[in-house]
Symmetry: C2
Subunit: 153 residues, 2 copies
DNA sequence: CATGTGGTTGACGTTAACGTCAACGTAAGG
DNA sequence: CCTTACGTTGACGTTAACGTCAACCACATG
C-alpha cells in the first residue's frame, strides 16, 4: 500500500516515489505530457489503483526523455534509443546489430556537435563584430563629451 | 536576362545560379520545402519572370537553415538568428540588446553540447557493455569448438 | 504542332506533440 | 456531508512543417 502525504507519495519499503503533478512541476512539464510519454511507451509508472506512481527509475528515464527532446529527437527516436539500451544482450547476431546501431548514433551525435561548434564560431564572429561597433560608438561619444567639457572651460 | 541551359541557370555577370529543382536535389529536400522556407522569410531568391533563381548567397543561407534544423531549431528560431546576424549594427542600445541575445544563444548551444557529451558517455557505457558480452560469447564458443575438435581426435 | 520538362500558385491533407475540456473518481479535512 | 485537491480516461483542438494534388504557364525539341 502507498500512503499519500500532502503532495508526494511514499511506499512501504522507504523508497521515495512521486505523483504525476509533483513530477510535472519538478520538471517543468504538464501531467498531460507525462501521460503522452506513457502512451508512447517511454514511461511505465506503477499504479496505486488508477493513480500513477513514479519511482526513481522513472525519473531517470524522464531526464533522458527531456535530454533527447533538447537534442531535437522525436519521441520515437527516443524510444528506439531506450530499446537499444534495454535490449537484453542476448545472442551474438543481436549484439553485433546493436553495436552497429550504437555506432550510427554516435556518428550523428558527433555530427551534431560539429554543427554546434560551427554555429558557435559564426556566433563568435557576429559578436566580436558587434563589440567592435560598440567600441567605435563609445569612442565617438567620448570625443564629443571631452569636446563639450573643453568648451565649458 | 538569364539563360537556361538544361538544368541550371547562369546570369550575365558569370555568377552561377540555380533553379529550384536543382537546388532541392543537391540538398536532398523538395522544391515545396524551398517554397515554404521562402514563405517563412528564410530565403528570398530573385525571379526570372515567375521562376525562382537562387544564387550563392541563397545557398549559404540554405546551408544555415539545414544546420539549424539538424540542431532541432524551429523555422522561427532560425529566422530569429538570421535577424540577429543581419541586423544593421545601428545604435548603442540595439547593439547591447543584440549582444545579450547572442550570449543567450551561446549558452543554449553550450548546454546542448553538454547534453550531447553526456549522451555520448551513456552510449559509451552501453557499448563497452555490449562488447564485453560479445567477448564472453566468443570465448564460450571458442571453448566449445576446442572441445569438439579435441573429441574428434 | 504536340509533347516533355520544369516551373508556378493555391488549396487541402497529414503527422507529431502536445493543449484543452468534460465527466467522473477518491481521499483528506473541516 | 460538503468541499477541495488531485487524479483518471476520452475526445477533440491546435500548431509546425511539410506532402499532395490540381490547374496552369513557358520553353525546347522531334
Amino acid at each position: 500500500m502507498a500512503k499519500q502525504t500532502g503532495k508526494h507519495v511514499e511506499t512501504d519499503d522507504g523508497k521515495r516515489s512521486w505523483g504525476i503533478g509533483e513530477l510535472a512541476r519538478e520538471f517543468g512539464i504538464t501531467s498531460r505530457t507525462l501521460r503522452v510519454y506513457e502512451e508512447e511507451g517511454l514511461l511505465d509508472p506503477q499504479r496505486d489503483g488508477t493513480r500513477r506512481i513514479y519511482n526513481e527509475r522513472n525519473r531517470v528515464r524522464l531526464r533522458l526523455i527531456l535530454r533527447g527532446k533538447r537534442l531535437g529527437w522525436s519521441l520515437s527516436e527516443i524510444r528506439e534509443s531506450f530499446d537499444l539500451y534495454d535490449s537484453s544482450l542476448g545472442e551474438q547476431a543481436q549484439l553485433e546489430l546493436m553495436l552497429s546501431k550504437l555506432e550510427q548514433r554516435r556518428e550523428t551525435l558527433i555530427a551534431q556537435r560539429r554543427d554546434i561548434d560551427s554555429a558557435l564560431q559564426d556566433l563568435q564572429r557576429v559578436e566580436s563584430n558587434a563589440r567592435q561597433s560598440l567600441r567605435e560608438i563609445r569612442a565617438t561619444q567620448g570625443k564629443q563629451q571631452r569636446a563639450a567639457s573643453g568648451a565649458r572651460q
